[in-house]
Symmetry: C6
Subunit: 77 residues, 6 copies
């Protein structure tokens, strides 16, 4: 995972949002490096409303950071 995140800059807000989703997942990966366990857990939380809202919460924080990095894409037309 060497330099997996070269930049927070994205051309559009949509791509910034996708990057936020990615950032939310990476912390899980770094805390639980075993992909088999993660796949098992994913089955649990994918069907759990509380967990999905919690994931959305983390994405929201990362999106705020990425939006700030991109000056909220104000210059994008």
């Amino acid at each position: 995972m060497d330099n997996w995140l070269p930049s927070l800059i994205t051309p559009t807000p949509s791509e910034g949002y996708d990057l936020a989703v990615k950032l939310a997942r990476i912390a899980v990966k770094k805390t639980q490096p075993d992909a088999a366990i993660r796949d098992k857990l994913r089955k649990d939380y994918e069907a759990d409303a509380d967990a999905l809202i919690a994931v959305s919460h983390v994405v929201a924080i990362h999106f705020a950071t990425i939006a700030a990095a991109n000056d909220h894409w104000r210059a994008v037309k």
Copy 2:
């Protein structure tokens, strides 16, 4: 979902709030792409006070980001 979010700019705070609601939902959609499962989960959390407050929490974070993007709509009269 190509470029579903072209901009964070909205004419009014009300529309900015609606966009925040949308952003909160998109992360759920990206984590659980199956619409049938999401519909089932929606029935659960729509009648659960804790889940509704949690959704409101995520909306609040996105609204902060969108408000910043719009310079808090200070120029809107």
Copy 3:
């Protein structure tokens, strides 16, 4: 609910706080539009310490946004 939020500007911090309470409630309303269900849920969470603290949490985030919009009411005497 057309343009229910014309501005984030309030004359005083007290009114900004009231607006934050309102913003926290609107997301619940938009997620659960049935007023009868919301009234029932309200009876639950009004008597639940955890839920009340969670509501206070959402209010705090909206208050931060509104305070920033009002330049923290620094010019108010």
Copy 4:
């Protein structure tokens, strides 16, 4: 509770922190206006570690807002 919050400005960080504690409590009061119920709930959460940490969380957010309002008291000596 007319204009109970005339300003976010405090002379010191300590007083700013006390104001943050107050702001965290006001939302509870506005959501559950019955003082007798609040007193009963207070007995519950005062002896519950999770609830105390949750209260501390809300205080932290308000403290961030108040600190920003006071320019982080950088000029205080």
Copy 5:
């Protein structure tokens, strides 16, 4: 606890982090002033992963505030 927090300025990020830990604890102290009860609760949450992560969460918010107060210690070499 008169003026227990004279300033948010710390020489290094490490000391800023320690101050954040302190700020997270003070709200608990102000909500539950009885030291004996707090000591009992501490035994509970010290051995509970969820509670420890929740404490870390509150510390993170205070650290953000303190880092901003110190201009992120950018001038520290």
Copy 6:
């Protein structure tokens, strides 16, 4: 743990993210100094989806702070 955090500046966002993971862990360490208990708790939360999402949440807040400290690495090419 003397001056374990000399700076928030990192060459790349990837390294900033790693620092955020570290900051999230330190608060746990400072609250539960016993490494044997922490190792036991780690086994619990590593296999718990809710706990992993909660960890990711704390990382997101620290990452926001570190990104701000690094001016969002805008100058990194």
